[in-house]
């Protein structure tokens, strides 16, 4: 449901960027979202589609890339990406400490680029 608000913000940013570069037809937009952010890419694509009917953005492709979670071990400082199965109990590959690592990436939500003419 909140993908609708996200798509609205997204469209506003694209509109600004297109005007800035004198572009009129949007072909593709690339989004990066973190693995643990609350984004469902299919819902975001659908929301974008619904909001752009009969606009210059209609038919543009939404490309979503997921950024994996990486953490820094609280004990030894090792940086690693826990596999999906061990996402919550994530032993450090170096010292086996299980909990309390610092999340370095995996919460992002940004627009990386647009393709337009």
């Amino acid at each position: 449901m909140h993908e609708l608000s996200i798509a609205e913000s997204l469209i506003k940013i694209i509109r600004e960027e297109m005007a800035k570069h004198g572009l009129t037809k949007l072909l593709n937009v690339k989004i990066v979202y973190g693995q643990i952010s609350a984004i469902v890419p299919e819902a975001l694509e659908t929301a974008f589609e619904v909001l752009t009917v009969n606009t210059p953005f209609e038919g543009a492709k939404v490309e979503c890339e997921v950024k994996p979670m990486t953490v820094r071990c609280r004990q030894c400082g090792e940086e690693f990406s826990p596999s999906h199965e061990e996402r919550m109990i994530m032993p450090c590959p170096k010292c086996a400490t299980e909990f309390g690592h610092e999340i370095i990436s995996g919460r992002e939500l940004y627009i990386e680029n647009i393709e337009a003419e």
């Binding site: 109990i89 909990f99 999340i103």
Partner: protein, 218 residues
């Protein structure tokens, strides 16, 4: 042509939130974004907190719900200032809604502002509403695997409140497991185990409020 953009998609919401937080900070107000699933006891926790700390702080509550003004009425009955936002189906509050609600309610003389978000463990975590801290309630009837299932909200929160601990003898819930999961995504999260119904454990939560409010005072 390809244009590199690299802009945070929620920048407009974040900008309003930052502005609102600056205003609240200027007024010395501690602001909290209270989140949880529906029925975990957000309003009951607030009622008890507002009643018990009535003589210490002047508190205000912004209530977010899909429909009805029931929660604002319950909160206002304690004597606190309260205003209701009906999202009409919307799953979260955003910073502009909270800014407008705060303006209509008025913030003069307020020490602590609590925004009670729409009951939902997913979307509200993405939208800052101008708060100093996010506080997430998990009640023991919901299951101790919730921090594992909804990591983002616990990663974003300063505090996790484990509510309804008076029911622990009747449910299969491990406080240790829930705490360990929450700490695995958020090593600094503060955890309070309490029952807003019986009052057990409320003192540690009140002390935290006193400490954080003191930090905001000039």
């Amino acid at each position: 042509m390809k244009v590199d953009v690299v802009r945070n998609i929620l920048e407009a919401n974040d900008a309003v939130a930052a502005e609102l937080n600056a205003d609240l900070t200027e007024r010395g107000i501690l602001s909290l974004n209270l989140m949880s699933s529906p029925g975990s006891g957000k309003t009951t926790l607030l009622e008890r907190t507002l009643t018990d700390l009535k003589n210490e702080f002047s508190m205000a509550v912004i209530e977010g719900d899909c429909q009805t003004e029931n929660d604002a009425r319950r909160v206002a009955a304690t004597g606190a200032r309260a205003v209701q936002i009906n999202t009409a189906g919307g799953c979260h509050l955003d910073s502009a809604m909270v800014r407008d609600a705060a303006a209509s309610m008025g913030l003069d003389g307020i020490d602590i502002l609590v925004v009670e978000n729409v009951g939902n463990l997913v979307c509200p975590a993405e939208f800052s509403v101008g708060e100093d801290y996010k506080v997430t309630i998990l009640s023991v009837t919901e299951g101790d695997d919730k921090p594992e299932k909804y990591p983002f909200i616990f990663a974003e929160s300063k505090v996790m409140i484990l509510n309804k601990v008076d029911l622990l003898p009747y449910v299969n819930f491990s406080v240790e497991r829930a705490s360990a999961f929450a700490r695995s995504v958020n090593k600094d999260i503060e955890i309070f185990t309490l029952s807003a119904t019986t009052g057990q454990g409320m003192d540690a939560w009140y002390d935290w409020l006193r400490r954080e409010r003191a930090k905001k005072q000039k």
